[in-house]
Amino acid sequence: MDIRLTEVAKTYGRDRALEPVSLEAGQGILGLLGPNGAGKTTLLRIIATVIAPTAGQVELLGRDIASPAGRTEIRRRLGYVPQECGFPTGFTPFEYVDYVAILKEWVDRRPRHDEVRRVLAVMGLTEVAGRRIRRLSGGMRRRLVIAQALLGDPRLLVLDEPTVGLDPEQRLRFRDAVSTLADGRCVVVSTHQTEDVAALCPRVVVLHEGAIRYDGSPSGLAARAEGRVWTAADRQPGAVLAWRSEGGGVRQIGVPPAGAELVRPTLEDGYLLLVGGAGNRQEVPA
């Protein structure tokens, strides 16, 4: 297993950000879904060795993050894209990725520069490699953060909201890059975008209020909403969530009335039903 979390919890003062969580993951892409404040970023920061858990054991790539030597060894094979990332003042994309490459122990200049050029090319940033970062668009900056995470073909990739700020084409490019990268490595992607999860991840974990609410396949999550999604002309009393869909009717999730026109649920339906409201969560069949 590349990731093995055993009863991992995190508190900030009196606030409990993460309930005791146990999770195992091997090669492949693991999608992490959850609303804001669910504990996704806390969990990913622990997996990225940036913060230590308050309780529990974290083993990554066969090493315990509690030991300094183990942590260093993990970081040598880790790529991390944080949710929010600033840049040192005055850097160009090339200089920034080169700086990170040095921190990733690429000491020799020539192979380091070759690698920097490679990851910039993967993220389509070759043209702007010499431009000041402050002059780049938000999407380009996001791609730059992803580029630094790709340095050295990491065995474990931790991506926190990687597609935020990317336009549709860039998102598709990103999906392409990540699905290519998934061969032989473990990728953990946290996102609000259920389409990204549906397109990329054979396994999805839903985190809500610091605890894992679902761990399984995207189709399994969608199936949880089987018999709970229907369309009608107007919003009906049993609906937890409702919105106007393409056909002109109102797509609704919740407890359908008798004779409702049920439709095939999507991953998003399953996810929304799961986290849509505390009172309704209990109504979801196991």
């Binding site: 991390y80 040192p88 990733k104 000491v107 192979p111």
Partner: protein, 288 residues
Amino acid sequence: MSIITLGQRLPLIGWSSSADRLGRVEARRMLRHPAYWFGLAYLAMLGTYAVIDVVRGKDEAWNIAYGIVFLGVCLLYAPLTVISANRVAAAAFRRGVREPLDAAPVDARQRTIGAVLGLLRGPVLVGVVGMALMSVLAPLSSPSVGDPMNNTAARGLLEHMQVPVLVLGAGLLGIALARWAPKPGVLPLVVLVLWFGTSSLYAAVDANGVVHAPTWFAPWVVWVAENAGLAPQQPLGQQMWHLVYLLGLSLLAGVAALLRTPGTRRGLWITAAVTVILTGLAGWQQLG
């Protein structure tokens, strides 16, 4: 598959070949810091006035050259090094910037060591060049007749050696501040306190160039009198102890910076304790 050259770590302080490589990058960043442009502009203006004075026969060329180098390194380059070292060291530690960097194998301790190595390879080297220039120019210049406070020619090597140590101490102070108080406003506040604190200590150099006790405790060269002249050469023993005193203060700033980073601290605390004792001893001995 890419080639990764792994650094050899010295486990006690965390030095590695990556920190060494980082030092080269940080040296370039420090040397190119825009703060120095302000100093250069000011120096260019002074140089122009000085050349005019030489052409008009008001002063000797060597004296002027010495004065420009002295002013440039001690009164401009060293204070500006607090800023450049601080900004460079703080850049990768700012909130938001440091998150992806914290997931890299070269940890905060090594990054701090990288900044110190950058300081040694960059600004301190400029200080050494300044020291060499002053050592060459001093014998060529001559004391101004009737001006006991302009003893350029009387400066010795131990006094000149204080020049790069000033730059070192300034840079290490900047790095320590970047680690302990990276908040906006702290750096200018500390620089102002240091500037005015040092100025008040300099009041203890009298009009005849006699250096009184408080001045020796200034974290600066003691041979600059309040009226901007150069005091007579101090006794060799006192010069040496003042050099040790300045080195001790610099080392303490460096240790303070490293103490803020995760890793083993025992060796650092021992170094700090020994340095405090040595600096205190030197501080007392420098009084003569």
